[in-house]
Every structure is written in structure tokens, then in C-alpha cells.
Amino acid sequence: MNDTKSVALVVREEVRDAWLRGWGPWLMVGVAFALSGVAVGVAYTSQINLLDAREGVAILVRLAIGLGLLFVLFGAADSISGERDRATLESLLLTPVEHSSLVLGKAIAAMAWWLVTFLVATPYVLAVGTGPGGALDALAVVATAGLAMAVFFGFGAVLISARARTNLVSLGLALLAVGVLAVPGLLPAAVTRGPIGQFILRADPVTSSLQLLNRVVVDQHSFASEVTWLASPVIAAVIVVAAVVVGVRTVEIEPGS
């Protein structure tokens, strides 16, 4: 059976499971309410000068990206190990579809969480960003750094999921990995000012994405002038996609047994 056709088949079914039969649309209702609350909140606090307007836009963008990535992470981390836990994986592995096609299809389908969250968040970013300016630059950050991180999180979590014995292990490891990658962003300025610190900031895809967000949205640098911060998120995304496409040949029904 044609690989591309198999992948498309898996993507179609996974998307239907999440967005027609599953809770996807209702989770997006929740996202819309959360973004509405934050948008109104930052608009009001900005109006009474308690919050810088651009910091308000940044809060909204961080929330949108954070929610989108969280959905991608959980969806992808559950994709294989969840089927293993629910005893539905075996019947999939028994079909003639190559295991790599199953994994790739599930990873691509997880991107739908990001895409829909982005679509829901776009009107908010445009509306809130209009006042202080830079709405399109903010949107460019969400679309580029956000997408790169979604691919990195999604494909990375699927890789973990394919090898984890249980769903709990898969979700735990995926969250742990994200936590570790967030650490450089918490380092004090004195540490990150030096060449080693700067290298860490730029090499870590999560921190690098946040740096891009802060510089463009908060500091109002142009997106084009800060585009080099996209390097590590994009490279990280390319590496995990290659790892899924090339590295996953067989999915085991009981990993490590």
C-alpha cells in the first residue's frame, strides 16, 4: 500500500476522531473563553495604566502559544501509548500499513491542535495588538516560532509515545522534556549575558522562541531584525521530523519486553 496514502488515511481518521467525534471543538470553545477573558483583562488594565499595552499583547500571545503547544503535546504523547493503554494498538499494528506511516500520520494529525488554536487566537492578537502596534509582527511570531515549536513538541512527543510502555510514562517524559528546555529562560541576566549564556539561549528552542516573542512583541523590534532567534526552533523541528520519518521502523506492542 502506498505510504503517502496510508499516512493520509491515518491523518484523516485521527483528525476526525479529535474534531468530529472527540472533544476538540469544545476545547477550542474553552480556549476562546480563556483568550476573551485575558484580552478584556489586559485591555482594561492597560487602559488604567497598570500594564504596558505591549506586555498585554505578549501575555495574550504567550497564552495562545502555550495552550496550542499543550494540546499538541498531550495529543501527540497520547497518540501511540494511549492506544497501547486502551488495547487498541494491536489491531492497528496488525494491518499491512507500515508502522512508520501510522506514527507519521498521528504526528501530523497532532498538528491540527496547533492549527485550530492559532486560528482561534488570530482575531484576539489582531484586535489587542492594534493599539500598541506590531499586531502583524506578533502574529508572525505565533505563526513561525509557534509552528516550529508545535512540530518539535508534536513529533518529539510521538517519538516518546511510540517507545513508552504506558501513557503515564509518555505524558510524564514529554512534560519533563519541556520543563528541562524551559530552564535556560529562567537563568538570571548576569549568567545569560556572556557568550556561553547567549549560546544556551539561542541553542535551546523553547528559550529561543520566547526570546523572539519578547523582543518582537514587548521590545517592539521588527520581526525581520530578530528572525535569527528562529534558528534553533526550526532546526529542532527538522531534527524530530527526520527522527520520526527515518527513525521509527517498528512500533512494539510491549516496548522493552
Partner: protein, 178 residues
């Protein structure tokens, strides 16, 4: 009390700077790359500060310190609110040697400020002060709540509508006979 001390320090530093012509000044000379900056609250400005040794002996270890003055507000502003690094230690400068440091500042209140960099030799000796930079800080534009509110109402309504439609589509497709 803190404001008084700061003003006193500024006066002393200013007096020293005025009293000593640059050519005759012993120890470090501090220069900045800007005379005035127009900015808005929260925006980061990078100042290039050059500290050079115009004397004939090494300066010894130095500390550069950021000072922010609010003349209209009666004196000092809290420089800690402008930068995360109020003090920057420097190695000793040999005669004729210069060192440039980047100083990121982001004002948090609107107003008309003067920013100065003072450089103090740790082992003693006269302090030096840079020329002042005039910072005119204005309020940023507020968020346009007029656009935010309709979006904040419309998007959840549309999302609920879309969720109901997908549920209906799923039922329709599922019950469609072959």
C-alpha cells in the same frame, strides 16, 4: 533619605566633573553614544558606554553605576526599575585603554529624565561621570478595547456554533446509509 543621598552623590559627582577639565582628569573618562532619547514606557534602549583611561597609570578595578534623575519630579527616579544590572564591574584599564559596555534600559514611567553613568575606582581615586542623556519617555498607546470587546464576545460564540455544527456533521455522516 535614599533620594537625598542620591542627590548629594550627584552633586558631588557633578562638582568633581566640572572642577576637573577632561584633559587634566586623572582616572577613567566616561563617554556615551547618545545625547537624547525619545521613547515610550517599557521600550528597551541600548546605550553604548565607553570608559577609557586617559591617565598615565592603570585605573585599577572599576564599578560603573547607572543613575537616573527626574528633575521635574524633584530628584531621583529608581534606576533599579530601569535595568536589571544597576552596577557593572570592570577590570582595570591600562593607560590609553578603553572598554565599551552595552547598557539596556527600559523606563517604566512617563516623564523627562536624565541618565548618567558614574564610574568609581574600587581602590579609591576620583570618580568620573558621563555626560547626561536626556530621556523623554511617553505613554504607549493603550490597547484598543473597542476592537477587543467585540472579538472577545464574537469568537466564543462562533466557536460554540462551530462545535455544534461539527457534532451535527458527525451524526449526519454516521447515519448516512451506504
Amino acid at each position: 533619605m535614599r533620594r537625598m543621598l542620591l542627590l548629594t552623590a550627584l552633586c558631588v559627582l557633578g562638582a568633581v566633573t566640572v572642577a576637573l577639565p577632561v584633559s587634566a582628569q586623572e582616572g577613567p573618562v566616561v563617554a556615551v553614544d547618545q545625547e537624547s532619547v525619545d521613547t515610550v514606557i517599557g521600550t528597551e534602549t541600548v546605550m553604548m558606554v565607553e570608559i577609557s583611561n586617559s591617565g598615565t597609570a592603570p585605573t585599577g578595578p572599576l564599578v560603573a553605576h547607572l543613575l537616573v534623575v527626574d528633575p521635574a519630579g524633584g530628584g531621583s527616579a529608581d534606576a533599579e526599575d530601569w535595568t536589571s544590572e544597576l552596577n557593572r564591574p570592570l577590570d582595570s584599564l591600562a593607560p590609553g585603554e578603553a572598554h565599551t559596555i552595552e547598557w539596556d534600559v527600559a523606563p517604566i514611567m512617563a516623564g523627562d529624565y536624565r541618565v548618567l553613568i558614574s564610574v568609581v575606582p574600587i581602590d579609591g581615586g576620583p570618580p568620573s561621570v558621563s555626560p547626561q542623556i536626556r530621556f523623554t519617555v511617553s505613554q504607549p498607546d493603550a490597547l484598543v478595547s473597542g476592537a477587543t470587546l467585540p472579538v472577545a464576545i464574537a469568537v466564543p460564540v462562533i466557536a460554540i456554533g462551530a462545535a455544534l455544527v461539527t457534532r451535527r456533521i458527525e451524526r449526519t455522516v454516521a447515519h448516512r446509509p451506504t
